[in-house]
Amino acid sequence: MTSPTAPMPILCVRDLTIALPDGADRRHAVQDVSFDVGAREVLCIVGESGSGKSITAHAVMGLLPRNLVTRSGAIALAGRSLISRSEEEMRAVRGREIGMIFQEPMTSLNPVRRIGEQITEVFKAHGALTPPERAEKAVALLAEVGLPEPAQMMRAFPHQLSGGQRQRVMIAMALALEPRLLIADEPTTALDVTTQGQILKLIERLRRDRDMGVLFITHDFGVVDDIADRVAVMRHGQIVEMGSAAEVLRAPTHAYTKALLAAVPSLTPPPVAATLPDVPALTVENLQKTYVTSVGFFRPPRVVAAVADVSFTLRRGETLGIVGESGSGKSTVGKCLVRLLEANGGAIRLGDVDLMQLRGSRLRPLRRRIQMVFQDPYASLNPRKTIGRIIADGPMAHGVPASAAHDKARELIQLVGLGPDALNRYPHEFSGGQRQRIGIARALALEPDVVVADEAVSALDVSVQAQILLLLRDLKQRLAMSLIFITHDLRVAAQICDRIAVMQKGRIVELGDTAKVFADPQHAYTRELLAAVPGRRQPSPRALEGA
């Protein structure tokens, strides 16, 4: 497939095959992958975890892990082969001809060195320019990537910058030597949605200004929609479909692409089935949580209000979404509700008891009534316990006899869609989605009045995410479960929540029926959040199909 935008592609990859070590679940990490990236073109490689998309990018940079071997294929940068170059030659290529940005702007910068030093270091490493020129160029770069007061920024340390600003610094470093190709490996995944929008716009502008080709790795179809000229969909190490963004996103031909696109949650909430009876399951009044960090003797401690003042009522059988960006306090609210954190003030009423008034052994029996589903399916199950024990431990702690608790576990594991044989196995034998099902079964084992799901689907691939959302919706109907669903992802919130509370800086700025909030947001911040959701320029194909 030749690129329509450039006569001579900057990057040309042909039949690339990379072997996995023996004993892996498949033989090749990447198999027969071919693509081109032209000047001023953004090629998005999109796929789920384990699809080989990151390995492909690392192969181009010559940064493959030692145990992976390139079996065959060709990689050429501006017509010159990159395969079988020595490490020293590749070092000259990286930075000068290929710029790179990574997912974690927090860990990609050296925390003890000033921003300016780290950028000038790039020139120094490649022996370019004189020291005064380097500093001058660094300031110009910081200005180019849209950082305010670039001269002062040179003297800042990484911890003084926000995540988005750090990613801009990383981009400045990647662009320092004017590479012809920029490789971006999930550069916005760790960022908030509004920041993500800004970074995508920046990359968009830079590739035009600098005639640069961009190889953009992502798992997020919304991001693809916003930035890609062409798209390659990867699965199990192979490209299953490649074409222009419009073709692939609007008229996918491969079944896998169709399935992936269908799994992307639509921003349009589904129609509400029935109105709920107005019985409160949980009432939260004026919840407050402040963190006090002492900064040393004789200095006033630093006080941060994570939750300033939050009140809401959750009706029985209802799903209330709490959405917001990182630092908005949404997770703190969730942790206060299940009493993993002690709130400083307010009331949490479950029926006629105020949970806030109880502690210690008087609180423990009541913990049964409000349960939590955690974010990370890999960290939320004790690696040393069988699934059966993980689920049955809760009821047993509340006096249910062991045999009854294990019967219950068997029933629940089937309810969440796993076989009863799962009970005798250990967590490491399960995939992320399966583990999240186990986490849900654990929460349900205590027959709680309220379930708090804290980013419960954020760590999952989009197709798995769709399955878990389906499961939650199904359980909600069958068990009349009252659910508090905390998420940063507005698409997910649209699909599962009856009502939505938008949080900003520790306060709920808007609370209303999901359909209403999405159709007619009242608060400026809600509008800003909605506008920043990637891929909302055009309606998603599923919405088209559904119409």
Binding site: L340, R367, I370, D393
Partner: protein
């Protein structure tokens, strides 16, 4: 478990360490059979050099006592005190560290200040004081060694528990309403087991050294033969009859080395990812 054994066996040093330890343990267990008579008994004239006399293959000391007999019986005391005092230190250090790390707040503050109090006192001086106050005996030596060696255990366990406590599976156990003691015992401590095991093997070595030092200063149990006592007893003649001090000293050295090798091997086998990163 088999994977653990395989990784352990890959480490040649650890295997050598285990072999040495097995020999020492066998000698300690069989001591009454090898030398049924008391090691304090004078068997020959004093200052016989090693390999000079068949009946005392490692020679005799200043009082004509058989050095090999002393060595064999001394291994019992060294191993016993090393193991028991380590166990005692763990019995104090693990609960203190676990409580401090798990409950945090004022519990943590109180327990850690107490730990620091013990850490700031020079440990050997404290051990001497304890033993001399209580009269030297195996029990008082064990107590003294345990008192000076539990603080590092408490600090290490606290650190591990602190990081494990924020794991989601521990939080999940709290949310399901399990009592704190059960959460600590079933969710947290099993995951601290490997660093504790590694630390314990190294502590045993340190305890043996401490006991030897105490005995060297004449603060050993006067009723039992120990390596440290033997080193101390020979110190006045160390230039002329060097073997009287050297042989038990070498025994201490080899035992401590073996324990360190095993500790290292356990560490590598229990934390396979760490080892990979180092290579």
């Amino acid at each position: 478990m088999t994977a653990f054994l395989r990784r352990f066996a890959e480490n040649r040093g650890a295997l050598i360490g285990i072999a040495i330890l097995l020999v020492i343990v066998a000698v300690a267990v069989l001591a009454p059979l090898i030398y049924p008579t008391s090691p304090w008994r004078m068997v020959n004239r004093p200052f016989i050099a090693p390999f000079a006399l068949e009946r005392a293959p490692l020679g005799t000391d200043a009082l004509g006592r058989d050095i090999l007999a002393g060595l064999v019986h001394g291994s019992r005391v060294s191993l016993l005190i090393g193991l028991v005092s380590t166990l005692a230190a763990l019995l104090v250090g693990v609960p203190v560290g676990a409580a401090a790390g798990y409950f945090g707040g004022w519990v943590d503050n109180a327990l850690m200040r107490l730990t620091e109090f013990f850490q700031t006192i020079p440990s050997f001086a404290l051990a001497i004081v304890v033993v001399s106050l209580l009269q030297p005996s195996v029990a008082s030596i064990v107590l003294a060694i345990a008192i000076v060696s539990w603080p590092p255990v408490a600090r290490m366990v606290r650190g591990e528990v602190l990081s494990l406590r924020s794991r989601e599976y521990v939080q999940a156990a709290i949310v399901t309403g399990q009592p704190a003691a059960k959460v600590i015992l079933t969710e947290v401590l099993p995951n601290v087991a490997s660093p504790i095991i590694v630390l314990a093997s190294l502590m045993t070595a340190t305890a043996i050294l401490l006991e030897s030092s105490l005995s060297f200063l004449g603060l050993g149990d006067p009723n039992v033969m120990s390596w440290g006592y033997m080193v101390g007893a020979g110190r006045t003649r160390v230039l002329e009859q060097w073997w009287i001090s050297f042989i038990p000293g070498a025994a201490i050295f080899v035992t401590v080395l073996a324990l360190n090798l095993v500790g290292e091997g356990l560490n590598d086998a229990l934390n396979p990812t760490l080892k990979k990163g180092r290579l």
